[in-house]
């Protein structure tokens, strides 16, 4: 009987400890969202990101043609020094393979989203795991993991990505994603470790520990959730970096070799660069798309960072 009571008491205190971690009683995210709505730059970013997501999801409905199909109208006059421009049915003309450029641009949003999201998520998962282990265990595990991130950070990110892609005998979409993801691992790891260390000293963790909550539960239920905000913000910013890095790898000839795949970085890095003198639009439109989307994610990420920063709390 007394045991049950003690358990109940413990659970109640644990709840209190958790509530203490959310200052002011209002949820951190609700408060952040409120402030985000008042930030015009953040809203612009959010609108861009939303439009980009909608474009990617509904690409088959929006695009006039199949992005991989070659059209007779577009291949008829196709020469190395002449790529057909706008004509009826093909508002932006063709690409060097006689395919509809507009449809490829629209479908490109899908691939770009895919590469960016996957690279960010993989980097985040691995980084968070490393950071959580280092932050929770401390000691020599922490030492070892942090020296590893040091070495990874010692190589400029694109150079690290290049050396990773070069490891594979043939580059593919997956080598690009893996390389871009790996580059971001140390950043996430450092960020999470820092947040975890700060959590370790905080009052609610101390409260939980003095209640006899198990170390495992403290890490998973108290320290980790409270440390994740910074990581989520960083993920938004990482997305821009990921699509820019993927574009750079394509430009260097280390990108996805599948010519049927429409991806902005690939379009800019291969055809856009090769036919710049013949039809600069092939470079301009994917480049503008990349800049706008990268800008959208950066604006949103910065606004999120500002909105969760306790210094801006009122």
């Amino acid at each position: 009987m007394t045991n049950v009571l003690a358990e109940k008491k413990k659970a109640r205190l644990e709840q209190l400890a958790q509530a203490a971690a959310e200052p002011g009683g209002v949820g951190l995210w609700r408060e952040a969202l409120r402030r985000l709505r008042r930030n015009p730059a953040g809203m612009v970013g959010a609108v861009i990101v939303l439009a980009f997501l909608l474009l990617a999801v509904f690409a088959p409905l929006i695009a006039p043609h199949d992005p991989a199909q070659r059209f007779k109208e577009l291949t008829d006059n196709l020469r190395a020094d002449h790529i057909p421009g706008a004509m009826s049915g093909f508002p932006l003309g063709g690409d060097p393979n006689g395919r509809d450029f507009l449809s490829r641009l629209i479908y490109g949003s899908r691939q770009t989203l895919f590469v960016g999201v996957l690279a960010t998520l993989i980097g985040l998962t691995a980084g968070v795991t490393i950071g959580a282990l280092a932050g929770a265990l401390g000691g020599w595990v922490d030492m070892l993991l942090m020296r590893l991130t040091d070495v990874m950070l010692a190589l400029p990110s694109l150079l690290l990505a290049i050396s990773l892609v070069a490891l594979a005998s043939k580059s593919s979409q997956w080598t690009v994603i893996a390389a871009v993801a790996t580059v971001n691992v140390p950043i996430f790891a450092r960020l999470l470790r820092g947040a975890m260390l700060a959590q370790r000293e905080s009052d609610h963790v101390l409260a939980a520990r003095s209640l006899g909550v198990k170390q495992r539960a403290i890490v998973l239920r108290h320290m980790l959730p409270n440390s994740l905000t910074a990581v989520i913000v960083q993920a938004t910013l990482t997305f821009s970096v990921a699509i820019l890095d993927a574009a750079a790898l394509s430009f260097l000839g280390l990108g996805d070799p599948d010519i049927n795949r429409a991806e902005w970085g690939l379009m800019l890095g291969t055809d856009g660069q090769r036919y710049f003198e013949v039809r600069p639009e092939l470079a301009y439109y994917p480049a503008i798309a990349i800049v706008v989307v990268a800008l959208g994610f950066t604006l949103l990420g910065e606004a999120m960072r500002e909105s969760i920063d306790p210094k801006n709390r009122r």
Partner: protein, 335 residues
């Protein structure tokens, strides 16, 4: 001060040691291992076995690592599998080209970035500030190789202001002393060679400078805004010091600390960006070597040496930055 230097040098040694292990592991995990990478597809088993023995791959792994370390320490990175030149001579040619380009880019980035960031902070919320915020965001969102093509198109194809590629005009018979063409011209008093080299340098350096420039403007702005709110600035103003003195001695000096850190970190962005910029402008530096060593059959000895060199440059620059704190920040000097 001395203790700081010694401690940082020890850290440098540890990082370099870890890096050497990483590069060693990297070399061994190449597709088919380094032997196949060197021989290509047409290797007979006999030639393979011979090369394995010659390179010492039949030895225990620790012995192999020790030999690799010994060779690396004396600068023996082997020979390029493409040209057969020694990797060291390839580096000797390419290294000065890249350093010249990155230093020029850094001069542009710092020279424009610090004043622009300062102006943005001073006119916070007004036109110059808003322009700088938008401009820097676009600056970090643009793929720099695309910007390079854009600049090249406008300034060489249409306006003919700058040469499209290379480090120096063909036929310019300049004397090579250090490999830094601008410096060489000054040393040998071949002023026209220096001028020509600078003329070739402007567009690539401007391209490469975009990202560091944008970052430096942002950091300077944020840092100056922070310092302007400090009590000691208000105190200095209250004491009746002239605005110019407060700005230079109190605001700028204190605001520069994070900026210096950023400059160190941006060296990484510069080295990475150099790979892209050098390809656009056919520059012939480390970046060009990287591009060439990965196109087609991969030239691993060159790639490995260039990557390691880039890492060392990055680490050393950041070490220098850390040490420069002592000069800028008196609080560090005391410790």
């Amino acid at each position: 001060m001395l203790r700081v230097i010694v401690r940082r040098l020890l850290q440098l040694a540890v990082t370099l040691f870890a890096l050497s292990i990483l590069v060693f592991v990297w070399l061994r995990s190449l597709p088919g291992g380094p032997v196949d990478a060197m021989l290509g597809d047409r290797a007979t088993p006999e030639r393979r076995a011979l090369l394995v023995k010659a390179l010492g791959y039949d030895q225990p792994i620790l012995v192999q690592y020790w030999r690799f370390l010994q060779r690396t320490l004396v600068g023996d990175f082997g020979a390029s599998t493409r040209s057969g030149d020694s990797v060291l001579s390839v580096l000797g040619r390419a290294f000065p080209a890249t350093i010249e380009l990155t230093v020029a880019a850094m001069i542009i980035a710092v020279g424009l970035g610090v004043p622009l960031g300062y102006l943005a902070a001073r006119y916070r919320g007004r036109m110059p500030d808003n322009l700088s915020v938008v401009g820097t965001l676009v600056g970090i969102s643009i793929p720099i190789f695309f910007l390079g093509y854009l600049l090249k198109d406008v300034f060489t194809q249409h306006l003919h202001w700058f040469p499209p590629s290379g480090r120096i005009s063909i036929g310019m018979d300049n004397t090579h002393v250090t490999g830094f063409f601008v410096l060489d011209g000054i040393l040998t008093r071949e002023w026209d060679a220096s001028a020509d080299a600078i003329w070739h340098l402007i567009l690539p350096a401007a391209t490469l400078a975009t990202i560091p420039l944008a970052v430096i403007v942002r950091i300077t702005r944020a840092s100056v805004l922070d310092v302007l709110n400090e009590d000691y600035v208000r105190t200095a103003e209250a004491k009746g010091l002239r605005a110019k003195v407060v700005r230079q001695r109190h605001v700028l000096r204190n605001a520069l600390l994070p900026v210096v850190t950023t400059i160190g970190l941006q060296t990484g962005a510069l080295l990475a960006g150099a790979v892209l910029t050098e390809k656009v402008f056919n520059w012939g530096g480390l970046g060009t070597e990287i591009t060439n060593s990965i196109s087609g059959s991969r030239d691993y000895p060159v790639l490995q040496a260039v990557l390691m060199l880039a890492a060392i440059v990055f680490i050393v620059v950041n070490l220098l930055v850390d040490l420069s704190y002592a000069v800028i920040d008196p609080r560090v000097r005391v410790r």
